[in-house]
Amino acid sequence: MTQTHDDYLFERYQHKIKRENKIVGVWQLIILIGFFGMWETAGRLYWIDPLLFSTPSQVASVIAQKVVDGSLIHHLEVTVLETVLGFILGTIIGIILATLLWSSVRLSRIMDPFLVIANAMPKVALGPIIIVAMGPGYTSIITMGVIVSVIITTIVVYSGFKEVDPNYVKVLQGFGATRWQCFKEAIFPATLPTMISCLKVNVGLSWVGIVVGEFLVSKKGLGYLIIYGFQVFDFTLVMSSLFLIAIFAAAMYKIVEKLEGKLIKHTS
């Protein structure tokens, strides 16, 4: 008797959760459809100039046409590959630099003011120099993606290393652990959640670096399509590229979130 009543309460709880999820989902859908609907209507009725702001239907037909003639896939491939590389390299190099800083208190003290300056610098402003130095190709663009995310990763991960509860290190030192063993067994794994949130931030940052890099190099990729569309006044092309960037940036973010769920299961 009580069992069935408990079951009933649980069912009601589950039902409530499901209902809440449904409401949230419906509203998200309404906003999405409403946004594109308003955009389309506003464009068709000339509330906004369709020449400047295009319309969703035009964007869709441009994307469809470019998918069919195969040119889009190429640009997309280039940009996504550059972004993924820039993002991974930026994070890895950042973590390596943070590790170096952690390995020597003196080094971190020496480097501190330079890191502050490097962090405050608008990295995209280095674009022209990078392109002159490394040539107008993939290397320059990927370097842009790296440079935008690497310094902030270094700083955030390094402060994550420093915030690890010193008692974990004490436990290991009690067993006679070396500094490197303390790093491997305690500091690094304890900072994994910080690194994952760095990855999330870096998804956005590396897109900035790559798109600006493609603006400057202007050969291939979605950034090139945007700058080309701008120059020939084809704003449907600009909007299409933006739309694709939004989709792929969101997809990358979701992948990182999945990774987070896989890597971080036990944190307390």
Binding site: K170, L172, G174, F175, G176, A186, P189
Partner: protein, 270 residues
Amino acid sequence: MSLLTLEHVSHHYFTNNSYTKALDDVSFSINAGEFVALLGPSGCGKTTILSIIAGIIQQTAGDVLLNNEPAHRSKIKIGYMLQQDYLFPWKTIMDNVLIGPKITDTITEKTKHSARQLLNEVGLADVEEAYPDSLSGGMRQRVALVRTLITNPKMLLLDEPFSALDYLTKLKLENLVSHLLKTYRKTAMLVTHDIGEAISMSDRIFVMDAEPGRLAKTFEVPIELRNETPFLVRRHPKYQKLFDAVWDELNKHEPENPKEGKVVDNDADT
């Protein structure tokens, strides 16, 4: 024969514009197999003493000898147990227990076997593959105990290992630790705030004075109490007498007392 000897050990903590003297000329020795408790007000340097013995920090003056050898050259293993368990949340219980052997690169089938045996002994069979977040506070502290014992240390340093636990769990763990240490003939030093815990577990009690930390007085626990389990010690007639004596001694060193006295004097002046 004394296993551990501290000779005129002092320790300073330095900051940019000041320093504090945490320990001032502390000397004592502990025999092999002995259980000693350190009692004292907070800030009297109890934890500093343990950290120095464990070799985690280096004293600013004096010598620490293990078996009459300087501690840093000695091969005698020391186990350190902290107030909280500090199990690594991302490692399974088994990996947590085996962290000591992993550090010294001595994991063998034999250590794994004895880890399982020890876990059994503390009543934790079947949790080897679990993660710490699924265990209760008492269970986690028992895992920490096994982690400390697995490297087979000659001496154990216990830094308030029961203070974060509820009373029932604490009493049970006191019995367990006391039993295990007697069975394996370990030498131990326990830091605690709890007079009852100190009396019920140890052979000798060092009462410390604060700012700077000094040894104030040593109490011998009567032989009748030493062989009882901690739980039964608390019911022994001689327990209360020793408790009162230690209580009075501790009160003498309570830093608030002289200050309160001064406040009263000032009031009298006005």
